[in-house]
C-alpha cells in the first residue's frame, strides 16, 4: 500500500462497468455480498456508450427515412428526407444517457459501491484505484474476489491510428456531427456493415474494402448474399481481397491505398475512413501481472466454465474473456460469476449464444449451422421458410430472406437456426430457447404461432424440416 492511500475491503471488486461488469456487480449485491464496481470511463461500457445502443439508435432513425422513401410503391409518398445530424446525435445521446444513468441508479439501489477511476492490481488480493488528473490520491481496495470485465477496444490497423477526424473508429463514426459525402469503410464485418448502412441511408457514398472475399465472412453465403444485395441497392460499393495499407491527407479528405495479395494497389479518395476490422480485449489497463494473471495467445483472459481464471478468487467475464464478444454473452457470464462467488451451483454451460447483425435486412443466428452439425457428428436435417412465403413479410414489403432451422434427424432436437430477414434479431429468441431447452422440431411445430406474424416462419421452417410444411413445398 502506498502511503496516503485510503484502504477499504470488499467481498467482490468488479473492474469495468460495461454490460458484463455491471451485471456481475448487481447480481453479486443481490446475493448480499459487499460489492465495489470500479469504472474508469462511463457506466455501461462500450455497449451503451459507443456500441450496441448508439448504433441501433442511428440504424433506427435512418431506417425511418429509408422506409419513407420505399413507401412510395404502396402509395404513400413524402418529400426527400432531410437529416439534421446534430439533432439525431443529441437524441441518440439522450437515449444513451437514460440507459447509463439507469445502470448507475440500479447499481446504487442494489447497494453496489461505485468508484470512479482506473483499477490496477497490486497483488492477487488488492487493487489500487488510480484517479485521473494530478493531485488525486489513490485508493486501495482489498478483495476476496475480483471480476475482471475490462471489455474490448477496436483493433488499430498499423498506420491507421484513430484520430477522430480522418481515421475513425466505430466510436468516432457514431459521434460525427456532419454527414460525410464519401466514406471509406475498412472491414465488412458486422460493425462495418451496420455503420455502412447508417451512412448509406444518410446519403453518404459508402465504399467498403474487405480483405476476405465476402461481406460478413463469418456467415454462410446464402445469408450474406441477401445482405450484400440490399446493401448494394442502398448504393454501397464493395471491393474484396484488399487490405488497407496506407493513407495520405488530401485537402480536407483522405486517400487510402489498399493492396491485394498479389501486391496490386488501389487508391480510394474519401472524406473520412472508418476502420472496423475487429476488436481486441483490453488487458493493459490493470496491471494483470501483479495478480499473477496472464493472457492466452489471442490476448484474452482464459476462464473455465465457472468464469474462474487461473488465479484463485479472480474471475473474468465479457469481451476480455474471449469470443463471442457480445453484450448478452457478457451479461450472462457476469451473472454466473456472481452466482458462483455466492456459492451457487452455476456454470456457463450454455449450448449456444445468439448473435445478431442489424443490417438491412437483419441477420440472426444461434447454435449450429448444417455444416457445423455435420462436423460435430450429427446427421442434421434442415428446414427453410422463405420470407416470400410469409404473409406478414409481404404486408411489410420485406420479403427478402428466410428462416432456416437445423435439427438432429434421429431425435428431432433443434441444434440451431439462421435467420435473415426483417426482425431476425427478435425471431431468433425462440430458436435460442428451443436449442437451450433441448426442444424438438415437433415442439416448435406444435406450438401455435400468432398469425400473421414473422415468427410463424420459425414454425414453418421446423415443419419444413419434418416434411410437413403447409406454406412451402417440402423438399
Amino acid at each position: 500500500m502506498v502511503v496516503g492511500d485510503i484502504a477499504t475491503g470488499t467481498d467482490v471488486v468488479v473492474i469495468g462497468g460495461g454490460p458484463a461488469g455491471y451485471t456481475a456487480a448487481i447480481r453479486a449485491a443481490q446475493h448480499d455480498l459487499d460489492v465495489t464496481l470500479i469504472e474508469k470511463g462511463t457506466y455501461g461500457g462500450t455497449c451503451l456508450n459507443h456500441g450496441c445502443i448508439p448504433s441501433k439508435a442511428l440504424l433506427h432513425a435512418t431506417d425511418i427515412a429509408q422506409q419513407a422513401t420505399d413507401a412510395e410503391q404502396f402509395g404513400v409518398s413524402f418529400d426527400e428526407p432531410e437529416f439534421d445530424l446534430p439533432t439525431m446525435i443529441d437524441w441518440k445521446n439522450d437515449v444513451v444517457g437514460q440507459l447509463t444513468g439507469g445502470v448507475e441508479k440500479l447499481c446504487k439501489a442494489n447497494g453496489v459501491n461505485l468508484m470512479e477511476g482506473r483499477a490496477e492490481f497490486a497483488d492477487e488480493n488488492t487493487v489500487r484505484v488510480i484517479h485521473e488528473g494530478a493531485g488525486q490520491g489513490g485508493e486501495t481496495v482489498e478483495f476476496e474476489h475480483a471480476i475482471v470485465a475490462t471489455g474490448s477496444r477496436p483493433i488499430e490497423v498499423p498506420g491507421f491510428e484513430f484520430d477522430g477526424e480522418l481515421v475513425l473508429s466505430s466510436r468516432g463514426a457514431l459521434a460525427l456531427e456532419t454527414i460525410p459525402d464519401e466514406l471509406l469503410v475498412v472491414g465488412a464485418g458486422y460493425i462495418g456493415m451496420e455503420l455502412s448502412t447508417v451512412f448509406a441511408r444518410l446519403g453518404t457514398d459508402v465504399t467498403v474494402v474487405e480483405m476476405l472475399d465476402d461481406v460478413l465472412p463469418a456467415y454462410e453465403d446464402d445469408i450474406s448474399r441477401v445482405v450484400k444485395g440490399r446493401a448494394e441497392s442502398l448504393g454501397i460499393e464493395f471491393n474484396f481481397g484488399e487490405a488497407a495499407s496506407e493513407w495520405t491527407e488530401d485537402g480536407d479528405g483522405i486517400v487510402v491505398t489498399t493492396e491485394t495479395e498479389d501486391g496490386e494497389t488501389t487508391e480510394y479518395a474519401a472524406d473520412k475512413t472508418l476502420v472496423a476490422v475487429g476488436r481486441e480485449p483490453v488487458t493493459d489497463t490493470m496491471n494483470l501481472e501483479a495478480a499473477g494473471l496472464s493472457t492466452d495467445e489471442n490476448g484474452f483472459l482464459q476462464t473455465d466454465e465457472q468464469l474462474r481464471t487461473d488465479i484463485d478468487g479472480i474471475f473474468a467475464v465479457g469481451d476480455v474473456a474471449g469470443e463471442p464478444m457480445l453484450a448478452h454473452e457478457g451479461m450472462h457470464a457476469g451473472e454466473i460469476a456472481a452466482d458462483v462467488i455466492a456459492g451457487e451451483p452455476a456454470a456457463f454451460d450454455n449450448r449456444a449464444v445468439p448473435a445478431a447483425v442489424f443490417t438491412e435486412p437483419e441477420i440472426a443466428t444461434v447454435g449450429l449451422t448444417e455444416r457445423e452439425a455435420t462436423d460435430d457428428g450429427f446427421e442434421p436435417i434442415v428446414g427453410k421458410m422463405p420470407m416470400q412465403a410469409s404473409g406478414r413479410a409481404l404486408t411489410m414489403e420485406e420479403s427478402d430472406g428466410f428462416v432456416r432451422i437445423v435439427a438432429d434427424e434421429e431425435s428431432g432436437f433443434v441444434l440451431g437456426g439462421q435467420i435473415v430477414g426483417p426482425e431476425a434479431s427478435e425471431m431468433i429468441a425462440e430458436v435460442a430457447l428451443a436449442v437451450e431447452m433441448g426442444a424438438t422440431l415437433e415442439d416448435l411445430t406444435s406450438t401455435i404461432h400468432t398469425h400473421p406474424t414473422l415468427s410463424e416462419a420459425v414454425m414453418e421452417a421446423a415443419a419444413n424440416a419434418l416434411g410437413e410444411a403447409i406454406h412451402t413445398l417440402n423438399r
Binding site: 466454465e305 450454455n350 431425435s411 428431432g412 431447452m437 433441448g438
Partner: protein
C-alpha cells in the same frame, strides 16, 4: 471410440479401491455389464461391470494396486468404432470438483434448469437417462438419478453379484418355493434361504422343498465355508503377511478414530433376565408360527430405546466443529455383526415405532445380508446407538468401542444360569452381563449408570415394555 472407465465412486466415504483381480485381459471382447474386475473398497468387494459392448483396449491398474476413485482403470474400445481418444462421460465427478465441460460430441439434451440441478446434486448430466421426448433429460430424471446414486443402487447390484461361487453346492434362485411349515422352520433355524435350496420336486407347478433337502443344502454350505476358512488360514512358514486393507482397514480406522477421539468409560453391570427368558420362550412360539425367529435382541432394543428417551445424551453426536451436541429424536439401532469379512453394523431404523416381531424379522434379514455381503451401504448408515452381542460367542463382560460418532454402545454378555439371592434364598436365575461404553466428553458416569438402570428395569420386568 474408446471409453475410458474411471473407478466409480461406489458410495459415500469411499475414496479408493483395491483392484483385487482382473477378470479380463487386453484384447478380450466384453459385453455390457460383464464383470471385468473385482474391486475391494473400504466397505465391500464389488464386481465392476463393463459399461459397453466392445473390447479391452488397455488396463491401467495392476491387480493389488490401490486406485483413487476417478482414476481411469481400464480403457474399452467400443464396438464398431475406430479407436480415438475422445474423453467419455463418466459417473465419477471431475477430480477438480468442477463440472466437466461439455463438448458438442457428447452433447446431452437437457434444459438449463435440469443442468443446473445436476450441478447442485453433483450428478454428471451425461450419466442421466432422459425420459423426455427423444430422451431429453428432465429435472425429474436428474433427481431420480441422484437418488439411485445415493442409495448406491449400482454398487449394491455389484455387491449382490459378488462371490456367488463360494457357495459350492449349486444353489437355486427362485421367486416362490413351496414347503411345509416345519420345513420353513428348519430352514430358518439353519439360516437357509428356501428359494436357494435346489430341488427337482414340484407341487402345483411350483418348486417344492423337503426337510431333507434343506438339511443337505445347509450342510454343504457349512462345509464350503469351513473349506474356505481352511484355505485362507492354511499358514505357510512361521509368519504370514496378510493385507491390511479394504473392510479390515476400514474397521481398524473406525476403531482408531473412535478410541482416539472419544475418551471411553465402560460401565459394567448385571441384569437378571429370568422373566425375560420365560417371556421370550412363550412369545417365540407365536413368532415361529408367523415364520419369525424371535431372539432376545428386540427386547433389548426396546429397553434401550426407553433408556435413551430418558437419557438423550446417549443418543447423540458431538459436533465438534459447531461446538454443539446433536440430540437425536429418532432411534436407529445398529447391531454389530461378525462376518467373514469382519465387523459390520447393520442398522434397524425407527426402533421406537416398530413391534417386536417386525424388529426381529428386520434385524434377521439385515444380519443375513451382512453375512452374505449383500447389504447395501445405506442399510449400515444412520445409526444413533449400537449393540454388540459378544455374549453370543461367549463372555460376560467386555469393553466395547463406541461406533463413532455415536456416543454410546451397549455390549451384551452371555445369558447364564447363576445362583442369586432372592428374598433371602439362593435360587437359580438367568443373568446377563451388560457392558456400556460411553463418550465421557459428553456423558457423565452417573448418567451412564442411570441409563443402565433404566435398561435393566425393562429387561428385568419385560411387561413394562407394554406400557
Amino acid at each position: 471410440m474408446t471409453y475410458e472407465f474411471e473407478l466409480p465412486d461406489v458410495g459415500e466415504g469411499v475414496a479408493e479401491g483395491e483392484i483385487v483381480s482382473w477378470l479380463v485381459e487386453v484384447g478380450d471382447a466384453v459385453t455390457e455389464d460383464q464383470p471385468v474386475a473385482e474391486v475391494e473398497t473400504d466397505k465391500a468387494v464389488v464386481d465392476v461391470p463393463s459399461p459397453v459392448d466392445g473390447s479391452v483396449a488397455e488396463i491401467r491398474a495392476d491387480a493389488g494396486e490401490m486406485v483413487p476413485v476417478g482414476d481411469v482403470i481400464i480403457v474399452f474400445a467400443e464396438d464398431g468404432e475406430e479407436t480415438a481418444t475422445d474423453e467419455e462421460p463418466s459417473d465419477a465427478p471431475d477430480s477438480t470438483g468442477e463440472p466437466a465441460s461439455d463438448t458438442d460430441d457428447e452433447r446431452v439434451f437437457a434444459p438449463p434448469s435440469a443442468r443446473r440441478l445436476a450441478r447442485e446434486l453433483d450428478v454428471s448430466i451425461e450419466a442421466v437417462e432422459g425420459t423426455g421426448p427423444s430422451g431429453r433429460i428432465t429435472t425429474a430424471d436428474v433427481r431420480a438419478h441422484a437418488e439411485t446414486d445415493e442409495s448406491g443402487s449400482e454398487p449394491t447390484q455389484a455387491i449382490e453379484s459378488v462371490e456367488t461361487d463360494s457357495v459350492p453346492a449349486t444353489s437355486a434362485s427362485r421367486e416362490i418355493t413351496l414347503a411345509a411349515p416345519a420345513t420353513r422352520k428348519l430352514a430358518a433355524e439353519e439360516g437357509v434361504e428356501l428359494n436357494a435350496v435346489p430341488t427337482d420336486k414340484t407341487q402345483e407347478g411350483e418348486a417344492f422343498v423337503t426337510p431333507a433337502q434343506v438339511q443337505q443344502y445347509a450342510q454343504s454350505q457349512q462345509a464350503a465355508q469351513a473349506a474356505d476358512v481352511a484355505a485362507i488360514g492354511a499358514p505357510s512358514g512361521r509368519e504370514e503377511r496378510i493385507p491390511y486393507r479394504g473392510v479390515r482397514r476400514t474397521i481398524g480406522q473406525q476403531m482408531e478414530a473412535s478410541k482416539f477421539t472419544a475418551p471411553h468409560v465402560t460401565h459394567h453391570d448385571e441384569v437378571d433376565v429370568t422373566q425375560l427368558v420365560e417371556r421370550r420362550s412363550t412369545l417365540a412360539e407365536v413368532a415361529d408360527e408367523q415364520g419369525v425367529s424371535l431372539t432376545y435382541m428386540p427386547f433389548v432394543m426396546k429397553a434401550i430405546v426407553e433408556g435413551l428417551k430418558e437419557f438423550p445424551a446417549l443418543n447423540a453426536t458431538l459436533d465438534e466443529d459447531a461446538e454443539e451436541i446433536i440430540l437425536k429424536h429418532y432411534y436407529n439401532i445398529g447391531i454389530a455383526v461378525a462376518t467373514d469379512a469382519g465387523l459390520m453394523v447393520p442398522v434397524v431404523d425407527g426402533v421406537d415405532r416398530k413391534g417386536l416381531l417386525q424388529l426381529s424379522s428386520e434385524m434377521n434379514e439385515l444380519i443375513e445380508k451382512a453375512r452374505e455381503r449383500s447389504i447395501a451401504r445405506e442399510e449400515m448408515q444412520g445409526g444413533t446407538f449400537t449393540i454388540t452381542n459378544f455374549g453370543a460367542i461367549g463372555g460376560e463382560h467386555a469393553t466395547p468401542i463406541i461406533n463413532h460418532p455415536e456416543s454410546a454402545i451397549l455390549g451384551l454378555g452371555e445369558i447364564k444360569e447363576k445362583p442369586r439371592v432372592v428374598d433371602g434364598e439362593v435360587v437359580v436365575r438367568s443373568v446377563m452381563g451388560l457392558s456400556l461404553s460411553i463418550d465421557h466428553r459428553t456423558i457423565d458416569g452417573a448418567t451412564a449408570a442411570q441409563f443402565a438402570n433404566t435398561v435393566k428395569r425393562y429387561l428385568e420386568t419385560p411387561e413394562l415394555l407394554l406400557l
